[in-house]
């Protein structure tokens, strides 16, 4: 079985519903592909990219966003695109040009965005809305997209301030259309740009650019960002992260605390167990992390592709490793002595997995394990006891666990 799937000719991707997207500067199209690489549709770009390749792309539930190099290698341009009436049009442009204070060179950016719904119906010519979630992330000036309503209409509104309840907001102008309760609501909050410069000097950093005013409001200095090719925004509902790939791990940068709260191991290591495989883009959809790569390792065999294809990782905690330790490891074969057995079960975040069934077995015809079916404790440990047999020899203790979901 060949392992290519979407066969992208460009090293960026966005995911919307069941489709994968990339921007093609040669044909000036937004290409929509299905998971086996067949082109489902294309949207002409207006204006054309003019041969300036897209470096990274994001999708916020409503708009596509692209990152391109600017006029020099120290400038970048971020464009906001809208697929409307079968055309993909630029609706906003953010130019980050080098200055005495800043230089910009980036391989990746993330868009912090929020999707929620209207709590109550908004009639046409209304100047307030009530949101079901993420009200804390709405500020005066935030531009919110409402829609589609039952007639398929969308509309942008600008928030002016909070009303009597914390999740109700006044608008700068009346709505033009009616939007029923439950209508989807989208708003981007910030751009998080991975920069190969730190201010105007060499060194990595992460720039936070707030929207819609396009102001740089945070610069996080960290040399690690100089080596980041892939990043994306990840919202668990209660916590928001910037995920970025560093080597063979994905780091979870909490955007409130600005600390790396988690790190997840990826299987982007070649069969030699030492060479990393470059991840060019990442996206989260549901509980799945999609990684865009032109190499992959499947069941011990390395594959190299002429195109870029996605590989999966799961973000939901999943049994990733189980290790067994026996103490003591040498027993007399007297049918009396015992050894403690401990199996440690961990997920891909290297965190212990609790209440996970572990089944122990041994290869000793005369010895035995006291409890062969044990659940892991708070520390991910399942413990049992092996009692020695009467025939000298090597004994193999096996612990088996699995994921049931």
């Amino acid at each position: 079985m060949a392992h290519e799937n979407i066969r992208f000719p460009r090293n960026h991707m966005a995911i919307r519903d069941e489709y994968f997207y990339y921007f093609d500067e040669r044909n000036d199209t937004l290409n929509q592909k299905v998971s086996d690489g067949a082109t489902a549709f294309t949207y002409p770009l207006d204006p054309p990219l003019g041969g300036n390749a897209v470096i990274s792309v994001e999708y916020d539930g409503f708009n596509f966003w692209t990152l391109q190099e600017g006029n020099t290698s120290e400038d970048v341009v971020i464009k906001k695109w809208l697929v409307s009436n079968y055309i993909c049009e630029v609706v906003d442009t953010i130019e980050l040009a080098h200055s005495a204070d800043h230089k910009f060179n980036s391989s990746s950016f993330s868009l912090e965005f929020y999707n929620t719904t209207l709590v109550t119906t908004v009639s046409g010519r209304t100047s307030q809305i009530t949101l079901a979630g993420y009200a804390d992330y709405v500020d005066p000036g935030t531009i919110i997209t409402l829609g589609p309503n039952s007639e398929g209409v969308y509309e942008n509104v600008t928030v002016t301030g909070t009303l009597n309840t914390s999740n109700s907001f006044g608008l700068g102008f009346y709505t033009f259309n009616t939007y029923e309760a439950g209508t989807k609501v989208y708003f981007p909050k910030s751009i998080w740009l991975v920069n190969n410069f730190l201010y105007n000097s060499a060194g990595g950093s992460l720039y936070k650019i707030t929207l819609p005013n396009k102001q740089i409001t945070e610069v996080i200095a960290d040399e690690d960002f100089e080596y980041v090719d892939a990043s994306c925004f990840y919202n668990t509902g209660s916590e928001q992260y910037i995920l970025y790939v560093l080597g063979t791990t994905v780091r979870f940068l909490n955007i409130d605390s600005l600390t790396n709260e988690k790190s997840m191991l990826l299987d982007n290591i070649k069969n030699d167990q030492s060479t990393g495989i470059t991840v060019y883009d990442i996206k989260v959809k549901g509980d799945t992390l999609y990684r865009l790569q032109n190499k992959a390792t499947y069941f011990g065999t390395d594959y190299t592709f002429s195109t870029y294809n996605y590989q999966f990782s799961t973000i939901r905690p999943f049994v990733d490793s189980i290790t067994v330790d026996v103490n003591p490891k040498i027993l007399p074969s007297n049918g009396i002595n015992v050894a403690e057995i401990q199996a440690v079960v961990r997920d891909q975040f290297n965190a212990p997995i609790q209440i996970k069934s572990v089944t122990f077995s041994d290869s000793d015809a005369t010895g035995f394990i006291s409890s062969t079916f044990v659940y892991t404790n708070h520390y991910g440990i399942a413990a049992s006891v092996y009692k020695a047999g009467t025939i000298p020899g090597n004994v193999t203790i096996t612990a088996l666990t699995t994921q049931y979901d």
Partner: protein, 419 residues
């Protein structure tokens, strides 16, 4: 099997009543070919061609051609008619204006076909047209209409004096008699895809031009109009919710876009994906000209991809597409897409079936199967699912995969039959 057909030597084409036509400036002939490339007839021009024609159209009565003008940044659009076994020049529009850089590869003619209401005799000057569209605005004083052929095969073209509702006053009396339902046709505007807006060549523009005077009525700037090589105009009926509409169509990248020329901002009725992508899955095959007949679209190309292999020719040949809704893509997603190989864990599979217009197709059976070397399988009873059933949104079908007991990469397949 070789897949070339017309073997046209020039990059333009139009289609009339089952025949394909090409303006040959080498021999000064309008060539008429059958669909296997055999020349079935040729019509000598009464005016010799001076330039290679870029694009041609047929409005039901006249042929139209576009070529470079003698000066830089100018274009010439000519109207021709077949008369007494020759192709005779009827009128010429020269687009030349220092305020505009005319640089175009394609154009089309806005034209309408309807019928007359009631019978009319020789000498009559007032006729009523059976048409859904309001004629004022489309048909104006000074334009021309062609009526017929009548039962004797006669037709005539007469200038318009006045239009009121569906009632037309002719500038000259009818020469022949006509019965209810005889054809009534007219053209009014030229639509040119220009590679400049005014003199700004960094963008493109769609130009609306009076087909009689050549005056520029309006320009619609937009990058999407730049670099367009194929366009046509026709009544289309395949957008079922819209009914019959007259649309200007053009090819951009690998899509055919349908412009509503009656909307102020030139909205689109829709867009149709076409198989104009080479077997490298990236390069787009240039479409040089376009013709529409009934449910068929004819694209003029020098390359085509047949069943995964791209073929190229030294000549230009047509490729067919259809307006009939066909299954064009099946998008698939598994959630979760990593599950344990324990014989128990399951993953929900959703297939999204869409046609070439990117519209969901409902009520279509999706056949799910598993490409696996081991014992993972679609849950019993869920192998065949109707799109739009089980609470799924339009065009979507859902099934469930249950894991086997051997770790492996599993591929879920979905098949939908064309009907």
């Amino acid at each position: 099997m070789a897949n070339d057909n017309l073997n046209f030597r020039k990059p333009h084409m139009t289609f009339v009543d089952g025949y394909f036509y090409m303006f040959d400036d080498d021999t000064d002939m309008l060539l008429q070919k059958t669909d296997d490339g055999v020349t079935s007839f040729s019509f000598p021009f009464d005016t010799l061609m001076s330039n290679t024609v870029d694009s041609i159209e047929h409005d039901g009565v006249n042929f139209w051609s576009m070529e470079d003008g003698s000066a830089d940044d100018t274009k010439v659009i000519r109207r021709w008619a077949l008369d007494n076994y020759a192709c005779k020049l009827q009128s010429t529009v020269t687009l030349s204006n220092p305020a505009h850089t005319f640089s175009s590869d394609t154009f089309s003619v806005e034209h309408y076909h309807c019928t007359i209401s009631g019978g009319y005799s020789e000498g009559d000057t007032i006729i009523t047209v059976d048409v859904d569209t309001e004629l004022p605005g489309l048909l104006q004083s000074g334009m021309a209409m062609t009526i017929g052929p009548n039962t004797a095969g006669r037709q005539e073209t007469i200038n318009i004096q006045h239009v009121a509702g569906k009632v037309i006053t002719l500038a000259d009396p009818l020469e022949y008699s006509y019965i209810n339902g005889d054809s009534f046709q007219f053209y009014n505007y030229l639509w040119m895809f220009n590679n400049a807006h005014g003199t700004n060549t960094s963008t493109g523009a769609l130009y609306k031009i009076n087909a009689y005077s050549g005056s520029v009525i309006a320009t619609y700037p937009g990058g999407v109009y730049k670099g367009v090589k194929a366009a046509t105009f026709s009544e289309i009926t395949h957008f079922t919710e819209l009914g019959a509409v007259n649309s200007l169509m053009y090819v951009k990248a690998s899509n055919l876009l349908f412009i509503n020329i009656n909307s102020a901002s030139l909205d689109y009725y829709g867009s149709m994906a076409m198989d104009t992508i080479k077997d490298d899955e990236v390069s787009i095959i240039t479409v040089y000209d376009l013709a529409v007949y009934n449910k068929n679209v004819y694209r003029l190309q020098r390359f085509a991809t047949y069943y995964g292999a791209t073929e190229g020719w030294a000549t230009y040949n047509y490729q067919a597409a259809t307006f009939n809704s066909m299954v064009a893509s099946i998008g698939m997603v598994a959630s979760p897409n990593i599950i344990a190989a324990n014989g128990t864990s399951v993953s929900e599979i959703i297939a999204s079936v869409r046609d070439q217009f990117a519209q969901p197709i409902d009520g279509r059976l999706v056949y799910f199967a598993v490409d696996s070397e081991n014992d993972g399988a679609i849950v019993d009873g869920q192998e065949i699912v109707n799109t739009g059933s089980g609470g799924m949104s339009a065009g979507k079908a859902q099934t469930t995969y249950r894991a086997g007991e051997v770790a492996e990469l599993v591929r879920i397949l979905a098949r939908v039959d064309q009907v």
